[in-house]
């Protein structure tokens, strides 16, 4: 399953940190600007089936925006990330959402992530606002902290689950690789790759 992590530009909202926490269970306090895209992968089990999530962590800086657009293609899910301590990252969500919807598969599962929930004292965006935005646009919503690892597993796994359900319902055509889903070699197990790319302040979702 390919999942992409996207997010608004300017100083990081924590996309790369989320990925690192999910794949390596580490936190990196220094901001290391992503150039274009980085990749991560992890195996998870859903419903007794082994699924490989392939995550694309996109660059959030504005100059990479046109480049990140090409990464939406073939993603089954997207994590759209903003930073709860900076309102401007939340205000840009609509543009990113439009971008994501326009350049991706229409069935792509999008999860809205409010990151840095550990910085409660510096919070600028209320949890209710995130929830309201997600409801309005039909997204799943979660607040995470890449620092304390709170909800990070859940964010990726829930996205994968959502995609998995869509596959079961037959919404995704698993024989079409453009959906970001590849069947593994063993006939019994589904090998799914979740690719997430993170760009700026939005994180993209995943597919399996």
């Amino acid at each position: 399953i390919k999942i992409i992590v996207i997010g608004k530009w300017r100083l990081g909202v924590g996309k790369s940190c989320l990925l690192l926490q999910f794949t390596d269970k580490r936190f990196q306090p220094v901001h290391d600007l992503t150039i274009g895209v980085e990749f991560g992968a992890r195996m998870i089990t859903i419903d007794g089936k082994q699924i490989k999530l392939q995550i694309w962590d996109t660059a959030g800086q504005e100059s990479f925006r046109s480049i990140t657009r090409s990464y939406y293609r073939g993603a089954a899910g997207a994590l759209l990330v903003y930073d709860i301590t900076r309102r401007d990252t939340f205000n840009h969500l609509t543009t990113w959402l439009e971008d994501a919807r326009q350049h991706s598969n229409s069935n792509m599962v999008i999860m809205l992530i409010g990151n840095k929930s550990d910085l409660e004292s510096r919070r600028e965006v209320k949890k209710e606002e995130g929830e309201a935005f997600a409801r309005e646009h039909g997204l799943i919503f979660m607040e995470t902290s890449a620092k304390t690892a709170s909800n990070v597993e859940e964010a990726f796994i829930n996205t994968a689950k959502e995609i998995y359900e869509k596959i079961q319902e037959g919404v995704f055509d698993i024989n079409n690789e453009a959906n970001g889903i590849k069947i593994g070699p063993q006939h019994a197990a589904t090998n799914a790759t979740l690719a997430g790319s993170q760009g700026g302040q939005q994180a993209g979702g995943g597919c399996c």
Partner: protein, 244 residues
């Protein structure tokens, strides 16, 4: 993931010197140069990300332009002052000679006015000293500070073209990208290293340019307020004396 990244980065660096890489780099740089000179539309997001820099460049060009205009204006002003002073002097002399022939009270007044006019014409010429100082200072400013900044701007533009070229290249290789295919990833890492390198260079020059332009603006203000004070004092003295 990090281990891989390091491996790829090292690999990309060793590849950097390879001829093929250099050729491709040149190709994308040339392509960007072409886009620029032909005025073709550039990537709006890339352009937008340089907005602060472009605003500074705008300021720089305005400093450059207005300095030129100021020099021209001073030159013209100097000429006019000379003319005016000459005319004034002539008129003064004329009034004095006419007044000396006229024995009435009107003759006395004519003589006095003529004297005042001659005096004022001298004072007017005194303005030329602070003005030519202003001219020299602005001229030096133009030769030293402006041309120095101009060099930095040019270097920055070179790096900008390189960076945008590298971005074009990255966009190109991003069209087809599958992290599971080694060949594609190898290529992508190579380009990524290139973009990172070009971005580093460009960002540094970008900061340099912004700082230099700010400094340039501040030092011009300083220079003007300094030199103009002398001018203003002389002008005041001149005006006062004329009215006495």
């Amino acid at each position: 993931m990090d281990g891989h990244k390091e491996f790829y980065d090292q690999y990309a660096q060793s590849q950097e010197k390879s001829v093929v890489n250099k050729m491709q780099q040149k190709y994308w740089k040339t392509k960007q140069t072409l886009i620029k000179v032909t005025g073709k539309k550039e990537d709006e997001h890339v352009v937008a990300s340089d907005a602060d820099l472009d605003a500074k460049l705008e300021l720089f060009h305005s400093i450059q332009r207005t300095c030129m205009e100021l020099l021209k204006a001073i030159e013209l002003y100097q000429k006019r002052i000379c003319f005016l002073s000459q005319e004034e002097n002539e008129l003064g002399k004329f009034l004095r000679s006419q007044g000396s022939q006229d024995k009435t009270r009107a003759g006395k007044m004519m003589q006095a006015t003529g004297k005042a006019l001659c005096f004022s014409s001298q004072q007017r010429l005194a303005l030329r000293t602070p003005l030519s100082r202003l001219y020299q200072e602005v001229e030096t400013f133009r030769y030293r500070a402006i041309s120095d900044t101009w060099l930095t701007v040019n270097r920055m533009e070179q790096y900008r073209t390189e960076y945008r070229g590298a971005l074009l290249w990255m966009k190109d290789v991003s069209q087809e990208l599958d992290p599971d295919l080694f060949k594609q990833m190898e290529k992508f890492r190579k380009v990524q290293a290139q973009v990172r390198h070009a971005k580093l260079n460009f960002d540094k020059l970008k900061t340099d340019v912004c700082q230099k332009v700010d400094l340039l603006g501040a030092s011009r203000c300083n220079l003007l307020s300094h030199v103009l004070t002398t001018y203003q004092t002389t002008k005041l003295v001149c005006t006062c004396l004329c009215y006495i």
